[in-house]
Symmetry: none
Subunit: 217 residues, 4 copies
DNA sequence: TATGAATGAGCCTTCATTCAT
DNA sequence: AATGAATGAAGGCTCATTCAT
């Protein structure tokens, strides 16, 4: 009778690989990440990636799935429908900002997504379907509430893109921003302030557009 | 009767190389671009890059300089100080949007810059100094006018970033946007509409912030 | 019945590489030696050098260390302090001559050093520290004994260089020597004769200098 | 009637090339010298070498011939048979030492020869015939005079090699010598002192051997 | 006569992957 | 189940040389 207890021996390496890969993929993107660096960081053999995940691409896929699963466990789909739409917009933006600058990497989906935007891989379709579209729909609902039912579909979409754009630029444009404005930092306190600004900026714009819409109709 | 006009025959290879490089660098970034692909596209020998530009990095530098020079010829520095600040904001945004989506590649600086944001090269500092900072200062002046003299430095900066972010996202997030919103296109007409939206969105936000500022003081 | 003895099969490539590299480095020097030739001679893949030694430079380093280790095994540090200084000088010279012409390549350090003299690499400092300086000090002690305690530092040094020079020239000047004097060969017997000559030549000089020194003082 | 006067226009480039090549070949040897560096130093076009000398090898050949010709003009074959053999040995050694360390490069044959010893080129045979053998014969004559007529052919040859070896080592072993003995320099004064040492060392040895030879016979 | 331009061969290195235990 | 060893493809670069004026 073999040992009945499950053996977690080999999970170790696999898990370490996943963790190391998440880190490397998040900071370098898929293409610039090297299997070597990942294995080294994980203290694993160079061939371990191919053994456990068939492929560099397989590892990437696995990282995405793993991080998604973990994120769902950690942040169950919250839907505090009771809060005001303005409040919900603020929370959405703050959450996104913190994710984008989360050095902890327990959930690196957002940073990896930033890479996928620049150099998409075959994994992008799945990412969009599983992560981005749901987020987009939540944002869309908030924006629609704020614009009023009369707002055109186009208008809602463009506003949504305006909001997301403001957030993402701070992550993707960091190299430029830090050169233009060395005084701009990204401590948690800064991120909170930033979220407040973007929320305020967007709310004012949305309210203005809502009024214009009414006036027009 | 011999041709009196100078013959630019031998300039060809160098120019073809520059053009091909602009294209490849714009679509792949510096690191992923390969000298081989550039030479192949230009119909030139692999060693031609070394001969004419010393380096892959030298070629990159040359592309940036060449494209900058060409851009200055094509779009001389306009300064219609007579227009209203709102009008000037609109023109700034529209100009930026058209640049970001200029498939013509006579001026690929903006697309290359999008790459530099993600994986900066030593050329970034020069790019910031020569191209980005001047643009930033023009935008800053406009924003300050709209926010009023009482606005804090910080506020001006964040608003500027909010505006730029809205514009850039359409370029950098295209892979995601096209999946989320297949109906979103980027024809010249679309770009014009987009510029109008971003201008409107930002103006409303800026005006709102200006009023709040006054109320506070 | 499976073999109980450990199987060194997989050590082969690395060792073959070391051996081939020793041969090529000894005959071409570091710069002119090509990884290709080494790999071909070793029957190994071109990337094997990178795998096992990281670098061409790493392989070079490894060759030097390996050959040094092997040499120490083969010729343990002899210190027959009982012999006369003349006798010790003779042994020193003979040993050096044999090393310089050891075609066996189990110890190619001396031939590689001949290259390092011409085009030094970063490895030279270590070579001097580990191999040359100890030898030099042994020779210096012998020379000092023969010159007497009154001899100036300078004198000892120059005599040492005169002795080494006589030995090395036979190795480094071989291309010229074999053309000038086709009758000059380097069989073991010749080497022994050569060592006798150099010893005799140097002893006479040293004794003469010692007497002069006395006369002067 | 074309211009009768000879045109020295193009000689300039050719001469500059020869001079630059001498310098580069002397300091790097034939193989490590690059056409690029030579042309750059000469301020000439990259193709100039091939145009004027057909080949890198052709340029090398030309340098050797040119330098030889110049040397003959500058130092006509002196044969001061009146001086004592000891005196002539001293002059021979001092002359060689100065040549080996002549940074001026009007006559770089000796430094190039040092390279030919290490990595011979097809030019070596000619070098030996035209330069080295004559020198060798002069030295041989001096040595024979000092050893006396009874000395065996072998003995004369080995003594000759001992003398040359002492001289050459200072040039070829410089990388090692400067590490072992930082106090050893090669100013003209040092070279004179060095020549005195080597002469003294060798004379004592030769005299000793001459006496032994007499005693034996 | 002389040269800017172009070329092909070769070098070292890195990378993801596969093989053979 | 896991890994040390090995591999082929590709990348950037340098070099001596040739071509076309």
């Amino acid at each position: 009778m073999p040992t009945a207890a499950p053996r977690y021996v080999s999970l170790d390496t696999k898990e370490r690989l996943l963790e190391a890969a998440a880190q490397v993929f998040a900071s370098r993107g898929f293409r610039r990440a090297t299997v070597r660096e990942i294995c080294q960081l994980a203290g694993a053999n160079l061939a371990a990636v191919n053994y456990h995940f068939r492929d560099k691409a397989g590892l990437y896929q696995a990282v995405l799935e793993d991080t998604h699963r973990r994120a769902l466990e950690k942040y169950p789909l919250e839907s505090p429908a009771d809060a005001s739409s303005a409040e919900r917009l603020h929370r959405f933006i703050e959450h996104l900002m913190f994710k984008l600058f989360d050095e902890d990497l327990t959930d690196c989906r957002f940073r990896i997504m930033a890479w996928e935007m620049i150099e998409p891989t075959p994994a992008l379709d799945a990412l969009v379907a599983k992560i981005i579209r749901p987020l987009s729909q939540r944002l869309q609902a908030i924006v629609r509430e704020l614009l009023g039912p009369a707002a055109a579909e186009d208008r809602v979409r463009l506003c949504q893109l305006s909001i997301i754009g403001q957030c993402l630029y701070h992550r993707q444009g960091q190299a430029v921003i830090s050169r233009l404005f060395p005084e701009q930092h990204y401590t948690p306190a800064d991120l909170r302030r930033l979220a407040v600004h973007i929320t305020q900026f967007s709310l004012l714009a949305l309210k203005g557009l809502a009024q214009e819409g009414e006036a027009t109709s």
